[in-house]
Amino acid sequence: MSEVMLVNGLTFKHNKQNRWLKKPEVFALGPIELSVNRSETIAIIGENRSGKSLLAKLLVGAVKADEGEIFLSNVTYNAAKKKSTKSYNSSNDIRMIFQHSTEAMNPGIPVGRILDEPLALNTDLDEKARRRRIEETLVQVGLLRDHYYFYRHMLSDGQQQRVAIARAMILQPKILVADEPFAALDPSVRSQTVNLILSLQKELGLAFIFITHNLGIVRHIADKIIVMENGKIVESGKTETIFRWPQHKMTKKLIESYQSLVPQQTLT
């Protein structure tokens, strides 16, 4: 098991008196310690407003942290707003799937061009090679080559989700961060997507960090669980350990609410 990512003392403080935020509130995240191994699946659970999405955005670099370091393949890239870190292009190795795949797709350009953008910006491939790569990726996530020409409004939610996955996959990253990737999907499409990600993980050996409220999926696919409350990691560990012997109050609550559903499901 080789380590691909190490997060060290990552903190984020939201205490600026921003104008658009009416009530002045203090929200602090972290310090977060986290290590991710190759082809490992990590689930982040917790209630709303516990800082899960913010953590995901910090990990991919969409939001700059205040303190702390992230080592990605032994290169620091997000150390607390230092300008020098920009030189390392993190987008090749870590990619994000956004919470709302509909909003994360540009409505004005076809799927092909959406997928072309990361390739054109981050690789040296010429147009033909990019085209081939896009088509391969589309097929890989279970779409057709013809979807190259499709616009957002022509695709269903599940297909949009697949495009979002394709967009994340196309640069062949080492880590995939997903913010509630299964929330808006119906059970069959959800399991298709889960299987898709699992098979991609097996093929490419990528680490997968995801945020979810669905503990069933967590138990099914996650290797490790991180429980968050008020911007802090309150408990973390192997999935089975957490499910069987939850230590923290928060974890117990979450697990109990999940367990209470399970017998009913098995009865029917």
Binding site: G61, S91, Y151
Partner: protein
């Protein structure tokens, strides 16, 4: 490349094809387009198509009524004015002057306005809000009034009035572009592109501009109709194009002297301006709804 065909409709219509199909479905918009194309044609080929020289005076045929009147002749389709000039030729060349210069100045205003508006929208802080609020104050004044003030400083003439209207139109473009870019920058797909490593320039051309076309069409057609009205208004007030030059507003002002004995000298250029503005607005509206439908179903 599709190697096998799964769908009945084999071709993937490009966005422009889809827009065109949506546009054609609306009969009113299509009629407007035909009229506008006619004006385009006249604006391009007026000197070749016009039967007479618009400036040539002919004392033998003073104030000849239009051809549909009982005492009119077919040689002068729209009759002649007080100096014996052919009204039909004058209106054709007048369309060229008014319509052509309006298109030109709207394009310039759009280019400048969108550039400044984009810069204002993508930056934040003091600079951006200074640009915005100064120009918001300017937008409270009607464009014609600003144009009259600018003409008063620069002096009369068609070119000066064109500059004046261009300057008066720019704030609108800046305001709308800025508002649009700001709202767009908050969306998640911009964040996604930014994570891909796109610079601000790439973000604009690749992600924002394709979505901005609808707004540009609406603002462009509005500005074009304002420009046509303003240019002819300045010409009519004798502040813009000067009398020998056949410009629709000038023709209208010339005809006003003989309006009682020769009403066609006023009615026909006035009707032309009306038709022109109507066609521009109808086409703009149709194009807007077609562009919106292109991305909705």
């Amino acid at each position: 490349m599709p190697q096998y065909s799964l769908y009945q409709e084999e071709s993937q219509p490009s966005p422009w094809q889809r827009t065109w199909e949506e546009f054609r479905a609306s009969h009113i918009a299509f009629t407007g387009l035909i009229i506008l194309t006619l004006f385009f044609f006249i604006a391009l080929f007026a000197p070749i198509v016009a039967p007479y020289d618009p400036l040539q005076q002919n004392i033998d045929v003073l104030l000849v009524p239009p051809s549909w009147e009982s005492n009119g002749t077919i040689t002068h389709l729209f009759g002649t004015d007080a100096l014996g000039r052919d009204v039909f030729s004058r209106i054709m060349v007048g369309c060229r002057v008014t319509f052509g210069s309006s298109i030109l100045l709207v394009l310039i205003a759009m280019l400048v306005g969108v550039t400044v508006g984009t810069i204002a929208g993508m930056t934040s802080g003091v600079r951006s809000s200074v640009i915005n609020h100064t120009l918001d104050a300017l937008m409270a004044i009607p464009t014609l009034l600003i144009a009259i003030i600018i003409v008063a400083i620069l002096g009369t003439g068609l070119v000066n009035s064109m500059w004046a209207i261009t300057l008066a139109l720019i704030p609108q473009f800046i305001h709308h572009t800025r508002a649009f870019v700001r709202s767009e920058m908050k969306k998640e797909y911009i964040l996604a592109s930014r994570l891909d490593g796109a610079t601000s320039k790439q973000l604009f051309f690749h992600s924002i501009l394709p979505n901005m076309i609808e707004m540009l069409v609406v603002q462009g057609s509005l500005a074009l109709s304002i420009a046509v009205i303003d240019i002819s208004a300045l010409g009519f007030l004798n502040l813009g194009a000067q009398p020998p030059l056949p410009e629709l507003g000038v023709i209208l002002a010339d005809g006003l002297d003989v309006a009682y004995i020769a009403p066609w000298n006023v009615a026909l250029p006035g009707l032309t301006i009306f038709l022109m503005v109507l066609a521009i607005n109808i086409v703009g509206d149709g194009l807007r709804s077609a562009l919106r439908k292109r991305l909705s179903h």
